[in-house]
């Protein structure tokens, strides 16, 4: 019976407490405040000593890596541009060189052609002179032959007609006639 009453009063007290706001039950405030302060101090120590420096370092590391990568990419881009410029320059140089070689070769060939032409010209001139000389000789030979034939013919004609004439006279007469 006694225990029942005690139980009952306890139950009644609980009901009483439940009716109000447990938040305003000031008997528990000390307990809550004590554990809250312990909790906050623990969280603060863990965060400020371990977690926050670590996360900060990771974030800084990542930002640094990204910045480095961007810088490296920029550098590579620069290098590529330089390489392109160098390539273009080499190409232009090669073109100029090729043009120079072409011009040089052309000039050389022209020189050779000129020399060969000159040489051929002189040879041709020599041949022409030779030929002309030969022709003149032949012509002179022919005139002489014609004169001889004319003299022989004249002598033969005179002989045939029964005349005699000194050979020298006949020769001079024919020569005179031929000249005249």
């Amino acid at each position: 019976m006694a225990t029942e009453t005690q139980e009952l009063s306890q139950h009644a007290a609980e009901v009483q407490q439940a009716a109000g706001m447990p938040q305003l039950d000031f008997s528990t405030w000390g307990n809550q405040i004590f554990w809250l302060i312990v909790t906050l101090v623990v969280i603060y120590l863990i965060l400020s000593r371990v977690a926050l420096p670590r996360v900060g370092a990771v974030l800084a590391d990542r930002a640094g890596t990204i910045a480095n990568d961007i810088a490296a990419a920029e550098e590579l881009k620069q290098k590529a541009q330089e390489a392109e410029a160098a390539y273009d320059k080499a190409l232009a140089d090669a073109r100029v060189e090729a043009a120079r070689i072409v011009a040089e070769t052309k000039a050389e060939i022209q020189k050779e052609i000129d020399a060969a032409t000159a040489k051929a010209d002189t040879e041709i001139a020599a041949k022409v002179a030779e030929g002309e000389k030969a022709i003149a000789e032949i012509r002179a030979g022919a005139v002489e032959a014609a004169e001889t034939v004319a003299k022989d013919t004249t002598a033969a004609v005179i002989a045939a007609m029964g005349f005699t004439a000194p050979e020298a006279e006949i020769d001079s007469a024919v020569s005179t006639r031929l000249k005249g």
Binding site: Q17, M21, Q23, L47, A51, L52, V58, L59
Partner: protein, 256 residues
């Protein structure tokens, strides 16, 4: 007489529709007994310890990889870090970064207590004024002491609105002074009130679930409330933290 009362109570409970929406907030010793001394290990102790463990799991174990490409947990920890860091930088200023661990501690404690309180049968430590008043008073005292330590008497310029006409400045000073001292009250009651009200409403809906006719409606309402409370848990942590930043700004830059 007492037996009768007991009997009546039991009969009432037997009817199935009993609301004890505030019972979830009762502070109870964990290991028997009824007395709650300041050192007693209670459900408050348990849920605060769980909050500490959750914070350690997220911020210490989650970031133990120190990965340059973060794992899922690490990216949540980094998001929380960046969120509070940016808030202090934007609201209070770059020179307030030295209070980052302090503000981050408050944010993590409030956000974890709020969300852990949403686990069924759990205990919401931030629904108690004892807890939120200590948090708010800590901010209030920090701001006041810091304000005078950094600015000296110039800190009183906070209450003397030089941009207003001279005639109404004394009146404004009284209003500013009152609003300054009301800060810890509103700061703490906003958080505890939000937490308490949401949990109590859910408990009331849960009580209705005992009546078969309305139980589907009650369950749907609980689901809706739960989603809303999840949002409120984050929003109230955000509000508490951003107000802390705003108050800290007054301590660092008291001029309006």
């Amino acid at each position: 007489m007492a037996t009768e009362a007991h009997g009546a109570d039991a009969a009432h409970e037997g009817s199935g529709l009993v609301f004890h929406p505030m019972d979830q907030f009762i502070v109870k010793p964990l290991f028997g007994g009824t007395d709650v001394h300041w050192y007693t290990i209670t459900n408050v102790t348990l849920w605060m310890a769980i909050a500490v463990l959750a914070i350690v799991a997220l911020m210490v174990l989650g970031t133990s990889g120190r990965n340059r490409v973060p794992s899922r947990v690490q990216s949540i920890a980094e998001m929380a870090y960046g969120f509070v860091y940016k808030m202090i930088e934007d609201v209070t200023g770059k020179d307030a970064i030295r209070f980052f661990p302090y503000v981050f501690t408050l944010f993590m404690f409030v956000v974890f207590s709020n969300t852990l309180g949403l686990i069924p049968m759990s205990f919401t430590t931030t629904s108690h004024f004892a807890v939120t008043i200590v948090l708010a008073l800590a901010v209030f005292l920090t701001v006041t002491v810091l304000g005078f330590a950094l600015n000296g008497a110039k800190f009183l310029g906070l209450f003397w609105v030089t941009s207003a006409p001279l005639a109404i400045r004394p009146l404004l000073a009284v209003i500013e002074l009152i609003s300054y001292f009301v800060r810890p009250v509103s700061h703490s009651i906003r958080l505890a009130g939000n937490m308490m009200a949401g949990h109590a409403v859910m408990k009331v809906f849960a009580g209705f679930a005992a009546i078969a006719a309305v139980s589907p409606l009650s369950v749907i309402a609980i689901v809706g409330m739960y989603g809303l409370e999840f949002l409120v848990a984050f929003i109230q942590a955000y509000v508490f933290t951003i107000l802390t930043c705003v108050y800290l700004k007054d301590a660092l830059h008291p001029s309006h």
